[in-house]
């Protein structure tokens, strides 16, 4: 396989001075494994940005570095900066709990807690002491509505979350993330375990969410990246190969590697 260097990175100048997320020279290691190499990436507010690339290219590690979830992995090491609203979250005195409240995360496999539907959504606001009683009920209702799940569950809020279908569980997880009033939502292949109908619903939801939130979605599904995102980043072997307007990246890729990936030559 051809070795690539960051110099080849084709990077549209997005001309963002007010980037919501600004990743600068980010390097991540797991033990001796250099997973992310000199990543520079500016993400605009209230857009959907897709991060695509073959398995093992570091896309999951990249979004997990935005809410510092990599900290939890034994033997991980991060070098570089990630600015959110102009503040470097890798600063020593960062309050990671507040950071993670501000940045919601939705995982590959729906992972509701073994609690009721209501309790799942109420968990975040409760631990952050954001509301209780009627106020909490309102947050739960609002979050479920925002996640397009309310109508399906309003009569059985106190049933177990496991009584829901896979797609519903994933929307519940989105509602759970929305309940703590985040500004950014990170999604790690949120549809990989869902059927096409459930996937379509999540994608439609995603578009709507980007009116209010900054969404970063990891996907290995090219069509999905093309359908839902405003901007697309292509990651390959820990390096950012191409980044720009989704339409531009798909129709006129600047890098040979991106082109090969898009046309299905590898991946």
């Amino acid at each position: 396989m051809k070795q690539i260097s960051t110099k080849n990175c084709t990077h549209d100048d997005l001309m963002v001075n007010d980037a919501k997320i600004d990743v600068r020279k980010l390097n991540v290691w797991f033990g001796d494994n250099h997973v992310l190499k000199d990543i520079n990436l500016k993400i605009r507010e209230k857009t959907v940005t897709a991060i695509m690339g073959p398995s093992g290219c570091g896309k999951t590690t990249l979004i997990r570095s935005i809410n510092r979830m990599n900290d939890l992995i034994n033997g991980s090491r991060t070098l570089g900066e990630v600015y959110i609203d102009g503040y470097n979250i890798y600063e020593r005195n960062t309050n990671v709990y507040e950071l993670r409240r501000k940045i919601g995360m939705v995982f590959q496999k729906p992972n509701p807690f073994p609690k009721s539907i209501y309790e799942n959504v109420a968990f975040g606001p409760k631990i952050h002491k954001m509301a209780r009683g009627k106020e909490l009920d309102d947050i739960v209702e609002k979050s479920l509505k925002e996640a397009a799940l309310w109508d399906e569950v309003k009569d059985r809020l106190h049933n177990s979350a496991f009584s829901l279908s896979g797609g519903q569980q994933q929307r519940l997880c989105i509602a759970r993330a929305l309940a703590v009033k985040p500004e950014i939502i990170l999604m790690d292949e949120p549809c990989s375990s869902l059927d096409p109908t459930a996937t379509a619903r999540i994608e439609a939801l995603l578009r709507r969410l980007s009116e209010k939130y900054t969404v970063v979605i990891v996907t290995h599904n090219l069509q999905q990246a093309a359908r839902v995102s405003d901007f697309t980043a292509f990651l390959y072997m820990g390096k950012l190969v191409e980044y720009g307007d989704t339409k531009r990246v798909f129709e006129n890729p600047q890098s040979e590697l991106t082109e090969k990936y898009i046309t299905g030559e590898f991946g």
């Binding site: 809410n67 979830m69 939890l72 709990y97 950071l99 409240r101 995982f107 631990i127 177990s160 496991f162």
Partner: protein, 283 residues
């Protein structure tokens, strides 16, 4: 040569018979205790003190004594065991120190009870001057159940999917909030049944209360932690070993029948706890 089908059938029948023997051993023991023990069981037997001169009387102080011992042991062992398990499962990184800690826990779990009993007698009762008492025996019993509680609780917590922890942490929960609200709540039914089984272990233990708890012939209920305490296993042991005094022998069966009924109660409760939880999760 016999056909494969026939072979399967023979194996099935053998396994069935062996299983029947294993399972029925409990019923044989229970029935034997029931037949022999029910002769002495009466309201009087359950509510009066033993008479150690004529080897008659009841087992009231021993029932209460056993409950006291088990309660004290659990009050010590459950928090210590669960908190240690939380440390090992949620906080500690896997390194040499935790490996050594786990090794000692496993070893402590296998220590012969006579060793713990002697330690209770020599160190707690005599050296620390706590006396042959409820306290000495309760503490010594907790040495028996702490490793058990740790092992069961840690296993229960490790069985909680890591996806739950990630979800909670990604919402901004601290490690303690995640442990408390998610991990412990999810593992609770299994931890509870583990504690119940630990209670069963302590309840049935003879050597330790015999060595540092009391003689088994107590005619009174301890009024403080530092008085000797009677217990059902010790009572059963003493009454069963009085040669051909038939009133004593019968009473040993009575004591053992009450003990086995208490065990059944514990097993049934742990079953109910698990079933109820599983039902709750499905709807």
């Amino acid at each position: 040569m016999i056909g494969a089908q026939k072979e399967e059938l023979i194996i099935k029948i053998i396994l069935w018979i062996v299983s029947l023997i294993s399972v029925s051993s409990f019923f044989v023991i229970f029935l034997y205790m029931f037949i022999n023990g029910s002769r002495v069981i009466s309201l009087e037997f359950l509510t009066t003190a033993p008479n150690p001169i004529f080897w008659t009387g009841g087992i009231f102080p021993q029932i209460i004594g056993s409950l006291y011992l088990v309660a004290l042991c659990t009050v010590i062992a459950a928090p210590l065991g669960i908190l240690t398990a939380i440390y090992l499962s949620e906080y500690a990184v896997d390194n040499l120190i935790t490996k050594i800690a786990r090794f000692f826990i496993v070893t402590l779990a296998g220590i012969p009870t006579i060793v713990i009993g002697l330690f209770g007698l020599a160190f707690l009762a005599y050296r620390l001057n706590l006396g042959i008492s409820l306290f000495s025996a309760g503490v010594a019993l907790s040495f028996l159940t702490i490793p058990w509680t740790i092992t069961v609780s840690e296993e229960a917590m490790r069985a909680v999917p890591k996806e739950y922890r990630e979800a909670a942490l990604a919402l901004g929960a601290t490690r303690w909030q995640t442990t408390w609200h998610i991990v412990l709540k999810t593992a609770a039914p299994w931890i509870m049944t583990g504690i119940l089984l630990g209670i069963g272990k302590a309840l049935g233990e003879t050597t330790i209360p015999l060595m540092c708890g009391g003689s088994g012939l107590e005619t009174f209920i301890p009024r403080s932690l530092f008085e000797p305490v009677g217990s059902l296993p010790v009572y059963t042991f003493i009454f069963a070993t009085q040669g051909n005094v038939s009133s004593a022998y019968d009473r040993a069966f009575g004591g053992s029948l009450v003990l086995i009924l208490m065990f059944l109660l514990i097993s049934v409760s742990s079953l109910i706890i698990r079933n109820r939880y599983q039902k709750k999760m499905r709807t």
